[in-house]
């Protein structure tokens, strides 16, 4: 289940990449822009100062050479970027988006949430080795880029974020085209199509899908299974660590209510979050009353309510991208906690966020006969 099964036959194209995968990807995108298959490309690029990466919408194809398809950090979640471009509906321009699998999955969730229109968008994913924690990266960007490159070569996730280390969906294909670097021979990679749109694009590019992708699938299977095992183990440990009201409050006790986790979350699209609204601002008498009943109350109040409310509001669509944990100034393992909760809430409905555009969001659909175990036994 964790590895996607393209509904088309399992074939791909082996692309030779003498000048490196990055250059080969850029060449293909350039060719596609030349041929008018794409009018623009949304892709990460290193900022001029060199110490971060940002998504840019490239219209001038000469700028493509600056692109950085697999940056070492996730400074902006790609789902956010795509929805910013198409939130108000599809444009006339055909855009290719190159992102990590979790970013694509977030984009798909956003599409279901009505926050992006994918009609003219082609989603291209890449096998993801994980990303560095932003704080680690910022301490020495130059060194970090090198460390990251080495880690990618060895596909070693030790220096990646904790939530990336337990990601079993780092090669999940849910977009239109996937670039598979795993299991490929030296100086080559796989291009795999997973939709009609992807097929059409590759067809126009004269990339024939006739090569076997068995070695990619085999490698992905091994890695995904390993990671899934680690995920289950780590999340179980986490559960025992934060389980119970006392431990839970301890885990969130450092929260300063900055709501950064919500702001960077690709799924939290609400223009006005309930927790930023006047609904959570009460007259002082209310607080006094609360203080009276307990002896005192903490300010800013309701941090746990915020965290649990967010779990309720977005965990079904959570893609475990880890943006929240990167953004937390207090280093609370938010992403791991949310991953843990999301695995279970999604599991309840046999749902995997971002797996498919056709699966409805669990809370907008229902079955007449289900979940009787949560009903009162009297019924």
């Amino acid at each position: 289940m964790s590895i996607s099964e393209p509904d088309l036959k399992n074939k791909g194209a082996i692309i030779s990449a003498k000048l490196g995968t990055k250059q080969a990807i850029i060449d293909i995108l350039e060719k596609a822009m030349d041929k008018g298959i794409f009018d623009a490309v949304l892709i990460p690029m290193r900022v001029p100062a060199g110490d971060s990466f940002a998504y840019v919408l490239i219209k001038d194809k000469s700028l493509l050479k600056e692109a950085f398809p697999l940056p070492p950090v996730m400074s902006v979640q790609g789902g956010h970027a795509v929805s910013s471009v198409t939130r108000l509906g599809k444009g006339k321009t055909k855009i290719a988006v190159v992102m990590r699998p979790c970013e694509i999955r977030a984009t798909i969730e956003l599409s279901k949430l009505g926050q992006t229109n994918l009609e003219n968008i082609t989603l291209i994913s890449i096998d993801c080795p994980g990303v560095l924690p932003i704080s680690d990266f910022l301490s020495d960007p130059k060194k970090s880029i090198k460390l990251f490159d080495d880690a990618v070569q060895k596909w070693d996730d030790k220096i990646m974020r904790p939530v990336c280390q337990i990601c079993d969906k780092s090669s999940m294909i849910t977009g239109d085209i996937h670039i598979g670097t795993l299991g490929a021979k030296k100086d080559s990679f796989f291009i795999i199509s997973s939709s009609q749109k992807g097929n059409d694009v590759l067809d126009k590019l004269d990339i024939a899908l006739k090569d076997s992708i068995d070695s990619w699938e085999a490698k992905v299977k091994i890695i995904s299974e390993e990671k899934l095992k680690k995920r289950k183990k780590n999340l179980k440990e986490l559960k025992s660590k934060i389980g119970g009201i006392d431990n839970l409050l301890d885990a969130f006790s450092q929260c300063i209510n900055c709501h950064n986790c919500m702001r960077v979350c690709p799924i939290c699209y609400c223009r006005l979050c309930y927790f930023d609204s006047d609904k959570v601002k009460h007259p002082s008498e209310d607080y006094l009353q609360r203080a009276e009943s307990k002896g005192s109350i903490r300010f800013l109040p309701d941090t746990t309510l915020f965290q649990m409310g967010r779990m309720m509001h977005m965990s079904l669509s959570c893609v475990s991208c880890g943006a929240c944990e990167d953004a937390c100034p207090m280093s609370i393992p938010v992403a791991q906690i949310f991953s843990m909760v999301a695995d279970d809430t999604q599991g309840l409905f046999d749902y995997v966020s971002g797996r498919s555009l056709d699966e409805p969001l669990p809370l907008v659909t229902y079955k007449e006969e289900e979940l009787h175990e949560v009903e009162d036994a009297n019924d």
């Binding site: 309701d302 309510l305 649990m308 409310g309 229902y366 007449e368 979940l371 949560v374 009903e375």
Partner: protein, 143 residues
């Protein structure tokens, strides 16, 4: 309201306007006896209850939260209670995952004619909560 010594829980009940609230009303007019532990809040539909309300009640120290609506298939708005059930199941899952007492939450279907059932649900739920005791969150300051 409080009997000496005995712990009387505070239970918040979200009752749907069309079935469960009428059921509770019927329990009252039929002079059925049930514990004075329930604080009813009338909502137009059980699906009006954002699970956040329940979380908030729990964190504010409610000893129990009851959500009651029309029986599946009988929703005044056709399918509201099906959505309620999904949300409620999800909330329960979150409670379980975080090691919170999900037994303090109850979803029940009570129709307008089921005054006796309402009294039964209220009594049984109260007894159950009495056994669990005080909601420990009540004392927590750093929420």
């Amino acid at each position: 309201m409080k009997k000496e010594e005995e712990f009387m829980p505070k239970i918040l009940a979200f009752l749907c306007n069309w079935c469960s609230y009428a059921g509770a009303d019927l329990a009252g007019t039929s002079r059925l006896k049930y514990p004075p532990s329930i604080l009813p809040i009338r909502v137009m539909c059980s699906s009006r209850v954002d699970p956040l309300f329940i979380i908030k009640a729990y964190l504010a120290g409610a000893d129990g939260v009851l959500v009651a609506g029309c029986h599946p298939g009988d929703c005044h708005y056709d399918k509201g209670n099906y959505y309620t059930r999904r949300r409620f199941a999800m909330l329960k899952k979150i409670f379980e995952e975080l090691g919170l007492e999900s037994d303090r939450l109850l979803l029940s279907w009570v129709s307008a004619s089921e005054g006796t059932k309402y009294a039964k649900v209220a009594t049984e739920f109260t007894e159950k909560i009495k056994k669990s005791g005080d909601n420990s969150v009540k004392k927590e300051i750093f929420l």
